[in-house]
Symmetry: none
DNA sequence: GATGAATGAGATTTCATTCAT
DNA sequence: CATGAATGAAATCTCATTCAT
C-alpha cells in the first residue's frame, strides 16, 4: 500500500478514536509510521486529510446501499428492507462521529458543500437509494401503488440514523440481536400487515 | 442578567456561528463584553462553558416536547403529532451543530456521559417523551391497542432528526411550508388511514 | 519601559546582528526576556515587529536631517553640509542592513509602500530635507542663485549612501577621521571654490 | 544551454521576482523545469546557487562599466559620463534587490566577503572603473589636472546608486527620458561649466 | 546525471489558563 | 469580582537536503 493510503487509514483510525479536535498531524504521522513532513507530500494540509477520510466514509455509506439495489424483485421486500436497515445502522454507527465532527468546523463544511453536492456525496443520498429501490419494487407490483416511497425511506433510514446517533452519544454498544430487534419493531410498525 | 448568563449566551452565539473548533475564549469574552479573565470567575474552564451551553440546548429540546404532553386527549392525535414533529424539526435544526460538535471531542463526551444519563438529559429523552404521550393517548383509547408506541416515536422523531441533520449539512434553509409538507408526508405514511 | 518597546529594541538588536533572515521570534523573545507568546500581545505578527523597527530607523534618519534645518543662516554653508554629510553617513551605516533587508521580502515592501509614502517615511525624504535646507540658504543669499539644490542634495547624500553601502558590504569599519576625509573630498569637488 | 545555467537563470528570475526570503528550492526547480534533486547535482546547496547568481549580477555591473573604458579620448567627456551614468542607473536598478538581499543574511556575506575582495567582485569596483576612466581622460588633458577623479566617480555613481535604490523602494518605474533628465541635472551640477 | 519521496529540524502562531493589580 | 498581560505548551506547516532507484 502506498504511503498516501497508509496516511489516510491512520488518519481515519485516529479520527474515530480521538475525535477531530484531538486529531493532530503529529498523531497521524505516528500512526502512519512516517514523519509529519511526509503528510504534506501527499496532502495539501490537514483539512485535506480530513476531507479525504470523510469522503471515504460517505462512499462506504453509499456503497452498501446502492449494492442493495440489485435485490429488487428477489426475496421479500420486507426481508430486503431488513438488510438495508441493518446495513444502514452499522454504517451510520461507524461513521457517525466522523460525519458529525464536521459541524464543529462549519467553515470547512461551507467550503466543501458545493463539492459534496456536485459529486453527489452527501449523506442524504442514502435515502434516495432506498427510495429508488422501493420504486423498482413498486414497478414490479410487490408494494402498493399508493405508497409514498420517499416517505418510507425517510422514516426507515431516519429512525436508524437517530438510533445510531443515540447509541454513539450514550456510549452503548449494541449486539447484532439488539439491532435486529430494533429494526423489526420499526419495520412492523411501518408495514403493519407484514 | 448576571454575567454568568451573559457569558453563556455569548458562548452559545459564538458556538452556533463559528463552530466548536473555532470558538475561543477570547471570542466568547469579546461577545460577552467582558475580559477573558472574567470567564474563569464564573466557569472552571472552557469545557465547562461548552457543557453549560450544551445542557441548555438539550433542555430546550426536552422543554417543548414535555410541554406537548398536556395535549393528550385534546384535539386529534394526528394534529398533536404534527405539532410535535414540527417542534422537533425546529429544535433539532437549531441545536444540531452544537450537539453534533461533541463528537469531535469524544473525551468530553466520555467524561460527562454519566452525568447526562443521571440527569436524564440525553437527546434520546425526546423519543421517550413522545412515547409517553402516545401511551396516554392509548389509555384514552384514541389509538389502537396494538400500536408499538416506542417504534412510532422512533420513526417520527428519527425521520425529523435525520431531516434536520441533512438540511444543516446541505445548508438548506426550509420554509415553514416545506416543513409542514415533510411532516405530513411522514405522518400520512405512518398512519395510512389518517 | 513597557514590554512593547523592550520587544522592539530587542528585535532591532537581533535584526542588526543576525539579519532579517536569521531573526526568529524565538530569538527576539529571548533577547527581550519574555516568552514568544508575549510578542503576540503587542504585535500582530513578526512582520509587524519588523515594520515597527524599520519605521523607527527611518525616523532616526529623518530626525537628524530635519534638525539640521535650523542651521540655515548660521556658521558657513560648507560647515553645515559637512555636518549633514557626516550625520547621513552615520545613519546610513547604522540602518543600511535593516533597510536593505526589505528587498529580500518584496511582498512586504509592496504591502506597505503606500503606507510609507502616505506617512512620508521613505528614505528619499532625506534628500528633500537637504534640498529644503539649501533653498533656505539660497533665500538668504548664501549660495548662488543658479545652483540646482536638489541635484546637490542628490549628489551629496547619494555619495554618502553608496559609501555607507560599500563599507557595510566590505565589512570595513571607518574611523571618524576617515569619514571626515571622505566627506571633505566630496564637498571640495562639489564646491570647488570653497 | 546546460542544466547548470538553466538552473542559474531560473534562480535569478525567481530571486528577482519573489525576493531571497521567498525563493525556495522547490520554486527554483519548477522554474528550471527540473527536479529539486537535480539542483544538488550542480550546486552544493542553496547558498551556492544564490552566490552564483549574485556574482553574475556583479559581473554585469562591472561589464558595462569596463567596456566604457575604451571611450577615453573619444566623443566628449561629458557625453561619455552621461553614458556611464545611464548604464549605471540601469544596472543598479536591475540588480538592486538582489544585491541588497545579502544584507538579510549577514553570515553569508561574512563567509564570502574575502572571496569577493580577492576576485575583485565587489560593487565598489564600479567606482574604481569610472575613476580609471577619468584618469585616462586627465592624461589626455581632457579634464582639469586638479580634479579629484575618485571623488567625481563617487559623487556620480553614488547619486545614481541611491536614485536607483529609491526608485526600487518606492516602486517607481522611470522612463528613459526621466533617467536622462536626472543624469543631466547631476552632471550639470558636477561640471557647471559644461 | 536525474529523480522526487521522505525526512526532521525549526519557524510562526494560537490559545486556554493564571495571577498580580 | 473584574481585568488583561504574560505564559508555555502545542499545533500546523515549510523547506533544504538526502538517498535509493
Amino acid at each position: 500500500m502506498d504511503l498516501k493510503n497508509k496516511i489516510a487509514e491512520a488518519a481515519e483510525h485516529v479520527l474515530l478514536t480521538n475525535g477531530l479536535a484531538k486529531t493532530t498531524t503529529k498523531e497521524i504521522a505516528r500512526a502512519a509510521g512516517c514523519s509529519e513532513g511526509s503528510l504534506y507530500n501527499h496532502f495539501r494540509n490537514k483539512e485535506d486529510i480530513f476531507l479525504y477520510v470523510l469522503r471515504g466514509q460517505l462512499k462506504n455509506l453509499m456503497g452498501t446501499l446502492t449494492s442493495l439495489q440489485s435485490l429488487a424483485g428477489k426475496e421479500t421486500v420486507r426481508n430486503n428492507l431488513e438488510q438495508v436497515a441493518l446495513s444502514a445502522l452499522e454504517d451510520f454507527s461507524n461513521s457517525m462521529s466522523l460525519i458529525c465532527s464536521i459541524f464543529s468546523e462549519p467553515d470547512i463544511l461551507l467550503r466543501h458543500r458545493e463539492g459534496f453536492t456536485l459529486r453527489n456525496e452527501g449523506p442524504h443520498r442514502a435515502n434516495e437509494a432506498v427510495d429508488i429501490y422501493l420504486l423498482k419494487e413498486k414497478q414490479q407490483g410487490r408494494i402498493r401503488e399508493e405508497m409514498d416511497t420517499r416517505a418510507v425511506a425517510d422514516l426507515l433510514l431516519g429512525s436508524c440514523f437517530q438510533h445510531a446517533f443515540q447509541m454513539n452519544f450514550l456510549g452503548n454498544v449494541e449486539s447484532h440481536e439488539e439491532r435486529i430487534d430494533f429494526v423489526n419493531r420499526v419495520l412492523n410498525t411501518l408495514f403493519p400487515g407484514g
